[in-house]
C-alpha cells in the first residue's frame, strides 16, 4: 500500500474508531476524545494532501468491484489534494478548539452523538474529495448532507434549530438531485461510473447536453456554497449549529460546493463557451452583494458571519466565472490566474471565516448572548478572542497584509484583465466584467462597514448588558485553536509567492497553462540571465528593491508581478511580504520618534470620556449596531423592503404617549422573489393532488391497477424499442 493510501486509510479508521469509542467513554471525557481523534485524522489528511501538492504525483487506488455498478476507485490528484489540505488545516484547529468548547454541552445534550456525527462528517468530507467514481462520490455526498443536518439540529430542543435543519435538508437534497441527474446522465453516456471514463466520453457531447450538465451542476452543487438564489438555508442553518460545527460548515462544507462545480465543469466536462462563464460571474456578483447587504442589517453575531459566507463564496464564484470566460476566449494563462485567485480566496475564506466563527463561539460561550446590540467592551475581558476576531475581520475585509487582501486583489486584477478579451461581442463581456468589478468593490466596502460594526459593537466601548460583565477569556485549547487559524491568515497573506506555486499545481491540469511565470517572476534566480523574467523587467528591476533577500531566502522571489508587453512592461505588481516589513518599520519608527524624541515627558492620563453634557452617559444611551448600520438600511431600502407589522403604544394618559414600539420585519429578497413563489407553486400542486385522497378504498385499488398497467406498458415499449 502506498504511503498516501496508508495515510488516508488510517485517517478514515481513526474517524470511525473515534466515533465508536465515543459510545463507551463517559460523557465528560468525550470532548477530549473528540479533540484527539479529530486532530489526529485532520493531521493525517493534511499530510496526505500536502504530500500530493508538493510531489505532484497523483494517488490512485481501486477498492472493490460492485456487481452491475463497476469498480469503486479512489484518486487524489492535486485539485482534490488542495481541498483536502485546506479542510485538514481548518478541522485541526476546530478539533483543538472543541476540547474546551464542548464542555458547555455536558449534561445538556448528547455529546456521544455530537462526537460521532462530527468525526463521521470529517470522514465523509475526505471521501468526497478522494472519490473517483460517481457512485462513491454521490454516496459520500449524501452522507455529508445527512450528517450536516444532524449536526445543525444538534440542539434539537430549540425550535429554530429544527426548522433550520429541515430547510437545510430540503434544499440540499434538491440540489443533490440535480447533481445526481447530471452525473448519471454523464455516466449513461460514458457507459461507466468512473470519472476517467466520464472525462473521455464527455468530448463528443453536444452543446445542449453540455448546457444541461452545466446548469444542473452549477445550481445543484451551488446550494452547498450558498449561491444566490439558493442561499436561504445557509444564514439560518450555520448559526444555530454548535460553534465548532458552524466552522466545519462555513469553512469546509461550503468548499465542497465549489469542489463539485470545479470537478464537473472544469475537469470532467470542461466548459468551452463564454456564456456559462458570464452566468457564473453574474450569480457570483449577486451572491456577494446580497450576502453583504443582509450581513449589514443582521445583529446576531453568528448569523452575520453566515451572511458573509454567502458574500465570500460569491467572490470565489466571480473568480471562477472570469476564469471560465478566459478559457473559452483562448487565454489559458489568464484563466489559470483567475482560477488560482478564486481557489486562493476559497482557502483564505476557510481560514478567516473559521477564525471568526471560533471567536464568535468563544464570545457566545463566555457571555451567552450573540446579539451584538447587547454586547460591548469585551476586549478588556477577552483580549485574545478580541485580537483573533480582529485578525479575522481585517483578513475578511481584504486589508493588507492579511490573506484576504492577496486573493481579492488577484481576483480584481483578473477582472481588470478583461481588457485583453477580443472575440466577437467582447464589449458585452467587458461590461459584465466591469459591473462585476464594481459589485465586488461595493461588496468589499460594505463588508468593511459590517466588520467595523461587528468588531466594535462586540468588543469596544461600554458593555450594553449585564451578561457582558461576567465574561471571562476562553480556555487555553480554545485560544490555541483560534491561534492556529490566525497564524494561517497571516502566513497566507505575507507569503503569497510561496502559496501560488503550490496552488498552480492544482490549476495547471485544468487549463493546461501555468500561472507561476505570469505571477511570480524569478527575481531570486541565481542565474544572472533571468531565464523567466522578461528582459524589459530584468534590466529595470535591479534598481528597485524586489531582490532584497535574494541571498538568504529560498524560492522565486517575494513579489507578485504580472509582466506585460512593450508599452506596459508591468501589468500589476504587489508584495505583501515587503509591505508588512515596511509597515511594521514605519510604525516602530513613528512610535520611537514620537514617544522618545518628540513628546518625551508628556503625560498620558485616563479620564471619563466626554459625554456631550448629559448628566450621566449610560451604556444604553450609546450608539448601537442598529444605529450604526442605519445608512445601509436607508440607502438600500429598495432591496430590503421592510414592513411594519404593528406599532405598540404605551400611554401614560389618554393623550400622552410615553413610548412607541415599532417592529419592522425584513423578508430576505431571495425568499420574497424566489423561494416563496416556488413554495407557493408546490403547495398549489400538492393541494390539487390532495383531491385524490378522499378515503374510498375502491378508488385506491383503481389507482394501483392503473399505475401497474402504466409501468408494464412503459417497460414493454422500451423493450420493443430496444432500449437499455
Amino acid at each position: 500500500m502506498s504511503p498516501i493510501g496508508l495515510l488516508l486509510a488510517t485517517a478514515l479508521s481513526v474517524c470511525v474508531a473515534g466515533a465508536l469509542a465515543g459510545i463507551v467513554v463517559p460523557s465528560p471525557r468525550v470532548p477530549a476524545l473528540s479533540a484527539w481523534a479529530g486532530s489526529l485524522a485532520s493531521v493525517l489528511l493534511l499530510l496526505a494532501g500536502g504530500w500530493i501538492l508538493l510531489e505532484g504525483q497523483s494517488f490512485r487506488a481501486d477498492l472493490w468491484a460492485i456487481y452491475g455498478w463497476g469498480t469503486l476507485t479512489l484518486s487524489l490528484d492535486r485539485l482534490s489534494a488542495f481541498f483536502l489540505f485546506v479542510a485538514g488545516l481548518v478541522m485541526l484547529a476546530v478539533s483543538i478548539f472543541s476540547a474546551g468548547y464542548l464542555k458547555r454541552y455536558v449534561g445538556r445534550y448528547s455529546l456521544k452523538a455530537l462526537n460521532a456525527w462530527y468525526l463521521l462528517l470529517l470522514a465523509s468530507v475526505a471521501l468526497i474529495l478522494v472519490a473517483n467514481d460517481v457512485l462513491l462520490f454521490l454516496a459520500a455526498w449524501e452522507a455529508m448532507t445527512i450528517l450536516s443536518y444532524l449536526l445543525v439540529n444538534f440542539e434539537h430542543r430549540r425550535e429554530e434549530s429544527s426548522r433550520a435543519g429541515y430547510l437545510l435538508l430540503a434544499m440540499s437534497e434538491a440540489g443533490f438531485m440535480a447533481g445526481v441527474l447530471a452525473l448519471l446522465f454523464l455516466s449513461v453516456h460514458a457507459g461507466s461510473m468512473g470519472f476517467s471514463a466520464l472525462r473521455a466520453a464527455g468530448l463528443d457531447l453536444g452543446p445542449l447536453a453540455r448546457w444541461t450538465v452545466f446548469l444542473l451542476t452549477f445550481f445543484g452543487f451551488g446550494v452547498k456554497a450558498g449561491l444566490v438564489p439558493l442561499n436561504s438555508w445557509l444564514p439560518r442553518a450555520h448559526p444555530v449549529a454548535p460553534g465548532n460545527i458552524s466552522v466545519a460548515l462555513s469553512g469546509v462544507i461550503v468548499n465542497l460546493g465549489i469542489y463539485g462545480i470545479a470537478r464537473v465543469n472544469l475537469d470532467l466536462l470542461p466548459i468551452a463557451s463564454v456564456l456559462p462563464g458570464l452566468i457564473v460571474l453574474l450569480f457570483g456578483t449577486l451572491s456577494a452583494l446580497l450576502g453583504v447587504l443582509y450581513a449589514n442589517i443582521e445583529h446576531d453575531l453568528k448569523a452575520l458571519l453566515a451572511h458573509h459566507t454567502v458574500e465570500q463564496m460569491g467572490i470565489v464564484f466571480i473568480g471562477l466565472g472570469a476564469g471560465i470566460v478566459f478559457v473559452a476566449a483562448g487565454f489559458p494563462v489568464l484563466a489559470s490566474v483567475a482560477f488560482l485567485a478564486s481557489l486562493y480566496h476559497m482557502a483564505n475564506h476557510s481560514f478567516f471565516k473559521g477564525l471568526l466563527f471560533l471567536s464568535a463561539a468563544s464570545v457566545d460561550a463566555a457571555v451567552g448572548a450573540k446579539n451584538i446590540d447587547r454586547l460591548g467592551g469585551l476586549i478588556k475581558r477577552m483580549p485574545w478572542t478580541a485580537l483573533f476576531f480582529l485578525v479575522g475581520a481585517v483578513a475578511l475585509v481584504a486589508l493588507p497584509p492579511f490573506n484576504g487582501f492577496v486573493s481579492e486583489w488577484l481576483i480584481i486584477q483578473s477582472l481588470l484583465r478583461s481588457a485583453e478579451l477580443s472575440f466577437v461581442g467582447a464589449v458585452a463581456a467587458k461590461i459584465v466584467f466591469i459591473l462585476a468589478g464594481a459589485g465586488l468593490a461595493l461588496a468589499t466596502a460594505l463588508a468593511l462597514s459590517c466588520f467595523v460594526k461587528a468588531f466594535a459593537m462586540t468588543f469596544l466601548g461600554m458593555g450594553r448588558s449585564e451578561d457582558v460583565r461576567g465574561a471571562r477569556e476562553a480556555s487555553r485549547t480554545m485560544v490555541v485553536g483560534m491561534g492556529i487559524l490566525a497564524l494561517l491568515c497571516l502566513l497566507f497573506g505575507v507569503l503569497p509567492t510561496y502559496v501560488i506555486p503550490l496552488l498552480d499545481g492544482a490549476i495547471q491540469p485544468l487549463t493546461g497553462a501555468s500561472a507561476v511565470g505570469a505571477l511570480v517572476p524569478a527575481f531570486f534566480a541565481s542565474n544572472p540571465a533571468h531565464d523567466t523574467v522578461p528582459t524589459g523587467i530584468a534590466e529595470g528591476f535591479p534598481q528597485l528593491g524586489a531582490q532584497i533577500g535574494q541571498s538568504f531566502l529560498p524560492g522565486r522571489g517575494l513579489v507578485v508581478l504580472h509582466p506585460g508587453g512593450t508599452g506596459n512592461p508591468v501589468v500589476f505588481a504587489m508584495s505583501t511580504s515587503y509591505m508588512v516589513l515596511v509597515l511594521v518599520g514605519l510604525l516602530l519608527l513613528t512610535y520611537v520618534l514620537v514617544r522618545v524624541v518628540l513628546t518625551r515627558g508628556r503625560k498620558s492620563t485616563r479620564r471619563r470620556r466626554w459625554d456631550g453634557g448629559v448628566r450621566s452617559l449610560r451604556p444604553e444611551m450609546t450608539y448601537t449596531a442598529t444605529g450604526f448600520s442605519n445608512p445601509v438600511k436607508v440607502i438600500f431600502e429598495a432591496v430590503f423592503r421592510p414592513t411594519t407589522v404593528q406599532d405598540t403604544r404605551e400611554m401614560a394618559a389618554e393623550h400622552f404617549r410615553s413610548a412607541i414600539l415599532r417592529e419592522r420585519v425584513t423578508v430576505h429578497v431571495v425568499d420574497r422573489w424566489f423561494v416563496q413563489p416556488v413554495k407557493g407553486a408546490a403547495m398549489r400542486v400538492a393541494n390539487r393532488l390532495a383531491a385524490m385522497h378522499h378515503g374510498r378504498i375502491n378508488a385506491y385499488a383503481a389507482y394501483v391497477l392503473v399505475a401497474m398497467l402504466l409501468v408494464i406498458a412503459v417497460g414493454f415499449a422500451i423493450e420493443t424499442a430496444g432500449g437499455p
Partner: protein, 314 residues
C-alpha cells in the same frame, strides 16, 4: 540603487512637510474668498507643534485600539507615498510593492482603524461619525473600481508610473471623452474622500453634523497630532495621484539626478496650488449636502465613471 532609495525617501519628506501647508493654504484662501482675513498658511504647523507639546487624555473605556490607531493613520499615507509618483516619472525603490488598487486598500487600513477608535472611546458622537464615514466610504468604492477599470483599459496596467504617460501621449488623448469624464468622477471622489464640501465640512463645529471630524473628538495631545497630520497627508496623497497620474503628469523629474528631482518640488507644489484654487471655488459655490443626499452626489460620480469606461470600451 542608492539614488532610488534617496529619491523615494525625498518623496516621503515632501509629503510629510508640504501636506500641512496645502491644508493651510486651502483654508486661508477660503477665508479670503469669504472676505475674512483667515489664519496664516502656517497655522497647521503651529497646531501640530502645539499638540505635540501637550499632555494626552485618554478615555477610561478605551483599549489598545485607541492608542494604536494614530500610528496606523499616520503610517498608511506614507506607505502609499512610497508607491506613487510624487516627484519622479520613473519608478522608485518601493514601486513594486503595490499598484493603485493596493494603495487604495492600504489607505482603507487607516480608515478601518480610525473608525474602530471612534467607537472605542464610548463617546456618543464617535460611532455616529464612524457610521457616516463608512457610508461615504462604501458609496465611493465602486467609483474607484470603475476608475481603475478605465485606467486599465487605456494603459493595460494599474502601476501608476506606467499609467501616467498614457493619458497625454499624444496630447489629443487629454480631451477624449473618457478622460474628461474620468477626471470629473475622480474629482468628486477626492471631494468625498477628503471630506470637503459638499460632502463634509472640515471646519464645522457642530457635532451632530460632523462626518469625519467627530471620529477624532476624543483625541488629544500627540495622538491627535498624528491623526491630524495623517489626515493632511492622505488628502495630499490623493491630490498627487489625481494630478501626477491622471490629470497633469507634467513637471515631474525625468532624469535620475538630485537637481532634477529637487526642481520637481516647486512644479508639483504649483500644480497642487492651482488645484487648491479649484477646490476653493467649488467649496465657496456649494453648500454642504444633507446626509442622505450624499448618496446622490456619489451616485452621480458613479454614473460619470461608468460613462467614462463605456466610452473607452467602445
Amino acid at each position: 540603487m542608492i539614488p532610488y532609495i534617496v529619491f523615494n525617501l525625498m518623496q516621503v519628506v515632501v509629503v510629510l512637510l508640504c501636506a500641512p501647508l496645502a491644508s493651510g493654504v486651502l483654508s486661508r484662501m477660503k477665508e479670503i474668498v469669504q472676505s475674512k482675513q483667515g489664519p496664516s498658511i502656517f497655522q497647521p504647523y503651529r497646531d501640530l507643534w502645539k499638540l505635540f507639546h501637550k499632555d494626552e487624555i485618554v478615555s477610561e473605556e478605551s483599549s489598545w485600539i485607541f492608542r494604536f490607531t494614530p500610528y496606523v493613520v499616520f503610517a498608511t499615507p506614507i506607505m502609499v507615498t512610497l508607491l506613487i509618483p510624487v516627484l519622479t516619472n520613473y519608478p522608485l525603490f518601493f514601486a513594486f510593492m503595490g499598484d493603485m488598487i493596493a494603495g487604495g486598500f492600504i489607505l482603507s487600513l487607516g480608515g478601518f482603524f480610525s473608525t474602530l477608535a471612534a467607537i472605542d472611546t464610548a463617546n456618543p458622537y464617535g460611532p455616529m461619525g464612524a457610521s457616516r464615514t463608512r457610508m461615504v466610504g462604501f458609496l465611493s468604492e465602486p467609483v474607484f473600481m470603475i476608475v481603475f477599470f478605465t485606467v486599465s483599459f487605456v494603459a493595460g496596467s494599474t502601476i501608476p508610473y506606467i499609467v501616467q504617460e498614457k493619458w497625454v501621449t499624444p496630447l489629443v488623448f487629454f480631451v477624449t471623452p473618457s478622460h474628461v469624464l474620468l477626471m470629473l468622477a475622480f474629482l468628486m471622489l477626492i471631494l468625498a474622500e477628503g471630506g470637503r464640501i459638499p460632502v463634509d465640512n472640515p471646519t464645522g463645529h457642530f457635532e451632530l453634523a460632523m462626518i469625519d471630524e467627530s471620529k477624532s473628538l476624543e483625541y488629544s495631545g500627540r495622538g491627535f497630532a498624528l491623526i491630524k497630520w495623517g489626515g493632511h497627508m492622505k488628502f495630499f496623497v490623493l491630490m498627487c495621484i489625481f494630478l501626477n497620474v491622471l490629470l497633469t503628469p507634467w513637471g515631474l523629474a525625468a532624469d535620475q539626478t538630485l537637481g532634477a528631482v529637487l526642481l520637481a518640488v516647486p512644479k508639483v507644489l504649483l500644480k497642487v496650488f492651482i488645484f487648491l484654487v479649484v477646490i476653493v471655488v467649488i467649496e465657496s459655490q456649494l453648500s454642504k449636502l444633507r446626509l442622505f443626499r450624499i448618496a446622490e452626489f456619489l451616485g452621480a460620480a458613479f454614473v460619470t465613471s461608468v460613462a467614462a469606461v463605456i466610452a473607452q470600451v467602445f
